[in-house]
């Protein structure tokens, strides 16, 4: 999509892009293990119990951090079972469809402005897209196919119902999600995520202050888009076993896991980027930071750290909410999406556009 | 700018009430009152701006409406002194009646439809009044006709009401036909329909060719036929008495104060045509005089309170038409103004009586209501005195001016004057009869009704009081000049309109008598004579009917049985029309329907259709109904066409 021809020499561009892709891929791959651990330790903390803390080398148990490794190993080496009635092609294709949009979303995320390597300015976004968050919306929409196909291909009532629920839910919440982003584009006058973050250099210019309603809508949609509690009807254990991926095990299950956590992470990143100033520190401007650290690269690194910290907070929020808020009923879910968030989003756009038009 | 607001408010009210149909009566009432009231408030500054010395009218173009060849008709509106006066009458009296109507219609379940019609009527009437060309006026003309139809038949579940509505519509259609012909003739002769352009053309003529005169006469007569329909003149007056089937505020607003004056307004607006067509105007004068007299005699014996007022309205409209006929357009408009006030008051007063008596309208069952309805009685008395021409009240001035102007018309003037005078005597008689039968004597209604008798709510009597004040004082705008001199005042009304109503140069010779001076003694004596005769006739009626229907009256009725029956049955005009027009038409239609339509046209079409069915049956074998077959044929055909084109 619209790869802007940078001024870099071809070979430098190629190397830079390839390495950025590898880095992004690695970051994505590392999210689920960490989250696995978090998903176990945090509820344990909340419920005042210990949680997994046995796995480790010798005496180093590191609060059960190795449990994640153990889980990963288990998932990978488990035996694979394909249901006899399943549609083989799509059964195998389903996990692919659910992983690949998540990584595509991640690939368009800017992690910082640029770093300087050997005199070349290399931007910290793997794929530079002009229409930044439209691309993200588009890719988020693609995620439906993973759910729908795998649910259908498993040829089971539970999976089919789960798939239908999940995809209906994702379609429904994609709309308010998109609507909540439009005021941001209006306010910062760009569709490019890097530009949007640049517009938030000052603390009071963060999206949360300029468009608080957008943030609320976005937050709700964030949970719904990733099928997380309180909107996890698609995998309601008590009703549908675990929904669309009931029949999956082993690596394919891991792939769904990966897809879910990567898209959670991507949305958390997006939320930090759009509403919380991205890589900007609250009261320290980028210029000051560069002066303070004395190097662009160091400042960028700090920025990436800040961004990850913010994203980490939202990841934590996911877990936090999961253990505090009960699940919605399906009709409540739809009502919330269509009858509340959608009009609210439209009103938000109208008000924002009106204020901007009045040159406020 | 204000003129758009004047037009906008009633339209908004009509649309609001008509489309959203608010359930709540108070809401729909408030919307309607606001619609016309705001319009009135917007009209006031418009009118004030016209008060200045020599203030000229202005024309406002909303948009170009019809453009075809040379024809260019704009949706344009004129604000001058004439339309300004009408504007105030329509919106002012309209507001009062709207307020009143809220009380009158209080027993209905919902009133949104009613008020929507009323507001629509106001809007249409404003179009009529403000239109600067015949076509815009015609929209308003037809629009008020439509609203009139809708409102007469407002209680359409009752069949006579629906029939009365249809009658009004159909009779008006005849008049409208004349109006349309007049419009066509005008366009044919002058190539324009705009009043201001017509005025320019005609005022620019030094003398008239015979062709132009005869053309103007034809136009004048055609337009007058239209006026006859709308303003209920002989022979098209028959719809107005029946129109009393509608709710009383409607009768007051549409069938007394505003719509029926459209004909007079139209003739006044086109005075420059009529001034140049004296023979047409002569016809107008005689029709007016005859109507005034004719309707007044019928009113003498009617028993339905609204019928009496209806015939009275026809008679008073006759006066106005008479005034127009003798070239006294300003007097006609002045009488229009005063009549609007006191006739609206009469109708609304009658409405209060009807409400108090639970929708009984027969005067034989009334009587003695003075005790129960003191306010209504007081204002009603004012209105009666005004209409019979009691010295000092508004009717006195306007009626006297018309009579005087009729008398001063050279030649046949005295005949017209006599007609008017006799009509005035009849008016005095029947109005006092009405007053006595309703308010004096003993109460003749049944026990149950009498028990519930009480004064109406303030929403109803407050507008009456305002109207009563107007009925008393509005006449002083047009004091006759000789009286004015005596009292050190001046006639305000005629000079005010004289900037609009002027005799075109080509007619100066014929109409020179308008500027003649007559001896004041003659004026004094004529005024005295007519006043004395009217008051005499009124006292006579008072003596006769003071105690309600007495045996003595019954004897007199039998003594003059043939006269009484003729008058009571309204000269059998309705029966006559039925015999010579309606029934032949019905039989003709029957023939057309059964023989021509069913037999010839339908039969022919059936034969045609059946033969087509047969033919298509022959050729439809390849229609398999398969979508794909069709698509294949379609694509192949398309490709064939494209190949044909590009090869």
């Amino acid at each position: 999509m619209g790869l802007t021809s940078s001024e870099l020499p071809f070979i430098v561009d190629l190397i830079a892009t390839l390495s950025k892709i590898v880095v992004v891929f690695l970051i994505g791959l590392n999210v689920p293990p960490i989250m696995l651990w978090v998903e176990r330790r945090v509820p344990a903390l909340m419920q005042r119990r210990r949680g997994p803390n046995r796995v480790g080398f010798f005496k180093w148990r590191l609060w059960g951090l190795f449990q994640a490794v153990a889980d990963a190993i288990k998932l990978i080496f488990k035996e694979e079972a394909v249901p006899a009635m399943a549609n083989k092609w799509f059964f195998h294709l389903g996990p692919v469809f659910s992983v690949f949009p998540a990584f595509l979303v991640l690939s368009a995320m800017p992690f910082g402005e640029y770093i300087e390597v050997m005199g070349y300015q290399i931007s910290l976004v793997a794929v530079q897209v002009n229409v930044g968050f439209l691309f993200i919306l588009a890719m988020a929409g693609m995620a439906i196919y993973g759910v729908a196909l795998s649910g259908w291909a498993s040829t089971s009532k539970y999976t089919l119902l789960g798939a239908l629920r999940a995809s209906a839910q994702m379609i429904s919440y994609e709309i308010p999600l998109g609507l909540s982003l439009i005021p941001i584009a209006l306010v910062y006058n760009s569709l490019d995520l890097t530009e949007i973050v640049k517009g938030q250099s000052h603390f009071w210019q963060w999206g949360i202050f300029l468009s608080p309603l957008s943030f609320i809508i976005f937050l709700v949609c964030m949970f719904a888009e990733t099928n997380r509690t309180p909107f996890d009807l698609a995998e309601a254990e008590s009703e549908l076993v675990v929904g669309f991926h009931t029949e999956y095990g082993s690596t394919k299950f891991a792939a769904f896991f990966l897809g879910e956590y990567v898209s959670m992470f991507a949305l958390s990143l997006l939320c930090s980027i759009l509403f919380f100033g991205g890589w900007h520190l609250p009261l320290l401007s980028r210029e000051n930071l560069i002066n303070l650290t004395g190097s662009v690269n160091l400042a960028a690194l700090v920025g990436v750290g800040v961004l990850f910290l913010k994203a980490a907070f939202f990841m934590f929020l996911y877990v936090w909410v999961r253990w505090t808020v009960p699940r919605f009923r399906y009709d409540q879910l739809m009502k919330l999406g269509w009858k509340f968030l959608l009009p609210l989003g439209l009103a938000n756009i109208a008000v924002t556009a009106g204020i901007l038009a009045l040159n406020f | 700018m204000l003129i758009w607001l004047v037009l906008l408010f009633p339209l908004v009210g009509a649309v609001w009430n008509g489309l959203l149909l608010p359930r709540h009566k108070l809401l729909s009432h408030s919307i309607a009152v606001a619609g016309v009231g705001l319009s009135f408030l917007a009209a006031l500054p418009l009118f004030v701006s016209l008060l200045g010395e020599g203030a000229a009218g202005s024309v406002h173009l909303a948009f170009s409406w019809i453009q075809a060849g040379d024809l260019d008709i704009g949706m344009e509106f004129v604000v001058d002194r004439l339309s300004g006066v009408m504007l105030l009458i329509v919106t002012g009296i309209g507001s009062l009646i709207h307020i009143y109507a809220g009380g009158y219609m209080n027993e209905e379940k919902t009133t949104a439809r009613f008020f929507s019609y009323l507001n629509l009527f106001i809007f249409m009437m404003l179009l009529l009044v403000l239109g600067n060309n015949m076509l815009v006026m015609f929209i308003g003309w037809e629009g008020v006709g439509l609203c009139s139809y809708l409102l007469i038949g407002y209680w359409y579940t009752h069949k006579p009401n629906a029939v009365a509505g249809m009658k009004a519509f159909v009779v008006n259609r005849i008049g409208d036909f004349g109006f349309l012909i007049g419009i066509f003739l005008t366009y044919k002769m002058f190539g324009t329909l705009s009043f201001s352009q017509l005025h320019e053309v005609l005022a620019g003529q030094e003398s008239l060719s015979p062709a132009l005169t005869s053309g103007l006469t034809a136009i004048g007569i055609c337009l007058f036929i239209g006026a006859c329909g709308k303003s209920a003149q002989l022979p098209l007056y028959v719809w107005l008495p029946d129109a009393m089937a509608g709710p009383t505020p409607v009768s007051a607003l549409i069938h007394a104060a505003t719509m029926v004056t459209a004909g007079i307004y139209m003739m006044t607006r086109l005075h420059f045509i009529y001034y140049l067509a004296p023979s047409a105007l002569m016809l107008v004068a005689f029709v007016g005089g005859a109507t005034a007299l004719f309707a007044a005699t019928i009113a003498l014996v009617q028993n339905d309170i609204k019928k009496v007022l209806a015939y009275s309205t026809v008679s008073q409209l006759g006066y106005m038409v008479l005034a127009c006929g003798v070239g006294a357009f300003d007097a006609g408009v002045f009488h229009l103004l005063t009549h609007a006030c006191f006739k609206a008051l009469l109708f609304l007063g009658a409405g209060s009586v009807i409400v108090a008596l639970h929708h009984k309208q027969d005067m034989q069952e009334m009587g003695g209501l003075k005790k129960y309805l003191p306010i209504t009685h007081a204002v009603f008395l004012v209105a009666v005195l005004a209409i019979i021409g009691f010295p000092g009240l508004s009717g006195f001035f306007s009626k006297d001016e018309i009579l005087w102007r009729a008398f001063s018309f050279p030649g046949v003037g005295w005949v017209l004057w006599l007609m008017g005078l006799f009509a005035a005597m009849c008016t005095a008689f029947y109005m006092v009869r009405l007053l006595c039968l309703t308010f004096y004597g003993k109460n003749r209604s049944d026990e149950h009704t009498r028990h519930h008798l009480h004064e109406t709510s303030s929403v109803m009597w407050a507008p009456l009081v305002v109207l009563a004040f107007l009925s008393i004082f509005i006449g002083y705008l047009g004091i006759p000049p000789f009286l004015a001199e005596a009292f050190h005042g001046s006639n305000l009304f005629s000079p005010f309109l004289s900037s609009v109503i002027q005799v075109p140069p080509a007619g100066e010779v014929y109409w020179s008598f308008l500027h003649e001076h007559h001896s004041e003694a003659l004026e004094w004596s004529l005024m005295g004579a007519s006043t004395l005769l009217a008051l005499g006739s009124a006292s006579f009626a008072f003596i006769l009917y003071r105690n309600g229907p007495t045996p003595f009256l019954q004897e007199r009725k039998e003594a003059f049985a043939s006269v009484y029956r003729t008058l009571y049955n309204k000269y059998w005009v309705d029966e006559l029309y039925d015999r010579i027009i309606v029934r032949p038409l019905k039989e003709m239609s029957e023939f057309l329907w059964r023989v021509v339509d069913l037999g010839i046209i339908n039969g022919g079409l059936n034969v045609l259709g059946q033969s087509l069915m047969f033919l298509s049956g022959v050729t439809s074998f390849q229609m398999t109904g398969s979508l794909h077959r069709y698509a294949v044929v379609f694509i192949l055909g398309l490709m064939g066409l494209v190949v044909l084109v590009i090869v």
Binding site: M1, G2, T4, N87, W89, F90, L93, V129, N130, V131, L134, F135, L137, A138, M139, G141, M142, I144, Y145, A148, L149, W152, A153, L160, A163, L164, S167, A168, I171, E174, G178, L191 | V632, I635, L636, M639, V642, V643, I646
Partner: protein, 165 residues
């Protein structure tokens, strides 16, 4: 060189998936082929510099329309009997041949008649802003009318697909 590579890659897969859409037996396969086709088409748009159209193409087509197809397919859950096509008849082969030949001929004549020559079409510069400007000025009325059309379609499809009482 890289342009050629991208174009031929996209074009090849687009052609393949188009053929797949109309030839496969299973509607889900067809829908997935359609998704791939439309996705790649968006790639072609982006390749030509129409970024915004490309994004909209993915959001609307793959994100909504084809999902709708999938939904319907899943809801109907057609039995295999339904999916079997009857053996094509001779006239169908004939028509197919004629249609392909006709299209080839028309296409050839059309492309031949293009007098633009073999000018390389450049990629457009970033044009989202300009597209928006045109859309909301010159094409405002069509835009509004189309929005009403969409509203009607929503109401209509709900009314049609609703379970009869």
């Amino acid at each position: 060189m890289s342009d050629q590579l991208v174009f031929w890659g996209l074009a090849g897969f687009i052609t393949l998936s188009s053929v797949a859409v109309v030839t496969v037996r299973n509607p889900v396969t067809a829908a997935v082929a359609l998704v791939i086709n439309l996705f790649l088409l968006a790639g072609v748009y982006a390749f030509q510099g129409a970024d915004f159209v490309a994004a909209i193409q993915i959001i609307v087509y793959t994100g909504a329309i084809v999902v709708l197809f999938l939904f319907v397919i899943m809801i109907l859950n057609l039995d295999p009997e339904h999916l079997r096509s009857p053996r094509p008849r001779i006239w169908e082969h004939l028509v197919l041949g004629v249609v392909i030949a006709g299209f080839a001929y028309i296409g050839y004549r059309f492309l031949d008649s293009l007098d633009v020559g073999k000018v390389a079409s450049n990629r457009l510069p970033d044009n989202t802003y300009d597209v928006a400007m045109i859309l909301f000025s010159n094409y405002l009325w069509p835009f509004e009318i189309v929005s009403i059309l969409i509203l009607l379609a929503i109401v209509g499809s709900v009314a049609i697909a609703k379970k009869p009482k």
